[in-house]
Symmetry: D3
Subunit: 104 residues, 6 copies
């Protein structure tokens, strides 16, 4: 499955106890990351930007990590995402993003 952004220990729990919700989420995830025009890698860069702009540490880390591992996204590419975060969301969100990127 593409974009396993929301995968983790929590999903196992949902799969067992809330299979209807699990299936709807998997379906949504598939559909979201199979758009008409943009490739998966570009969509993941957008997801990194959104997570970082919210200063969401865990989501940012997961998005960066899966982008690098699955899609060979480079640190320079992610840094260019963080440039946009700086302009649109300010220095604290940017700084957290840089710190996470460095730690990977």
């Amino acid at each position: 499955m593409k974009g396993e952004v929301f995968y983790g220990k929590g999903m196992q729990y949902i799969k067992e106890d809330n299979p209807d919700l699990y299936e709807a989420l998997v379906e949504l995830n598939e559909v979201v990351y199979n758009g008409k025009s943009l490739d998966y890698k570009t969509q993941k860069l957008i997801a990194i930007g959104i997570a970082a702009s919210k200063s969401d540490e865990l989501a940012t880390q997961k998005q960066m990590k899966s982008s690098i591992e699955e899609l060979d996204t480079t640190k320079d590419e992610i840094m260019d995402v963080l440039r946009v975060v700086l302009l649109t969301s300010g220095a604290p969100a940017f700084n957290q993003g840089v710190r996470i990127l460095k730690s990977l």
Copy 2:
């Protein structure tokens, strides 16, 4: 100048009364949108995603509009950005983005 996101009536006011701030902002804008690896169009798609994920109506509209006019970004491409907004930020932010896209 690239990425005139923050351009508008307000900027004229800043230019006249706060020239130091104006110059720093223009400089930052130039630097942000001249990254090492990603092209300007991809960075603008990221900026659209960030604005839409915050339900920031005016910023979303300006980003979508300048992307379409300056960079020939298609509505299908923006729709693929909004798919990521739906998954990461929920249906209300997505719906507002779709409404703005349709109105352009």
Copy 3:
């Protein structure tokens, strides 16, 4: 369909041009509002609280309106939701919620 929160002009556009996304969203909406334990009315009150806590004017209005019309939610019940918004999210979010409630 329950919880037509994300219904509106935008959805027609999605249905026609992005049927895969439309179906996934309808499916998710159905699943979300058919939980195991809480009834639909309680879930809608929660949705009102979330929308109001984000100061999301349009979403708050839509959620309040559909709750009142579909589920006979009273203004006193919504006011009790807004009390929680005041404590958890501050006076500006609360005030906007009160203003929207009054206008319905």
Copy 4:
């Protein structure tokens, strides 16, 4: 006192050094959680939804914990709150909520 949401080490500090503020907060808390129509348990479910929709880890944990301990709220009920969080605020906020719920 109902809804000791804001209780903790910090409150002791406020009580001693800022008694005026402490009293106003206790008063507000009492009033908020003694609405006209909704019972305390429903209001707490709304508070969980708001905290989780903001990805506020500590507040979400405190709200879930006090709901379960004081009001016998079940994990299934909280999961139904998180369903609304998923639809209105996206997968990262939902996932964090599920993770916190599981850990309790």
Copy 5:
């Protein structure tokens, strides 16, 4: 009453139908704006910064307006608040703040 930030049509409604809540809010407002060390004007500048950093148009406008009218805050002082908004919260929040300031 100091800091009538949350005053407006909505408050009349609360006063009549929810007098307990009205009194608690008035009390909180009084206590908040009567701190130990900072004067009222400085606290209002902080309130402007917070409202603008959230891109909350209505709250920003009300805070700026009451600061100028009640406390003789100058537009240059508010512009210095917006400088901090730019650095901490990004260009879109800053631009909206400048636009509102100009319109007053």
Copy 6:
């Protein structure tokens, strides 16, 4: 340099690998904290208020710490900032701010 808010390990990384961005950020920082009317200390109090209102733990801690160390800001002054955070952004953001303040 004033307002080393965004200083830390991350900045060293930016300085080496993205010198253009580093310089633009340093320039912006200088300009932001050298306004026309407000002194640096007042601007830092505003920055504390903004960080705390977003429940941004790390940024709040850094802002409080540098204010106390560089500018002899007192804990009572910061507490008066947090009063405004309580009114405008709710009890959870306020509580986190109080906890951070106490820990310094």
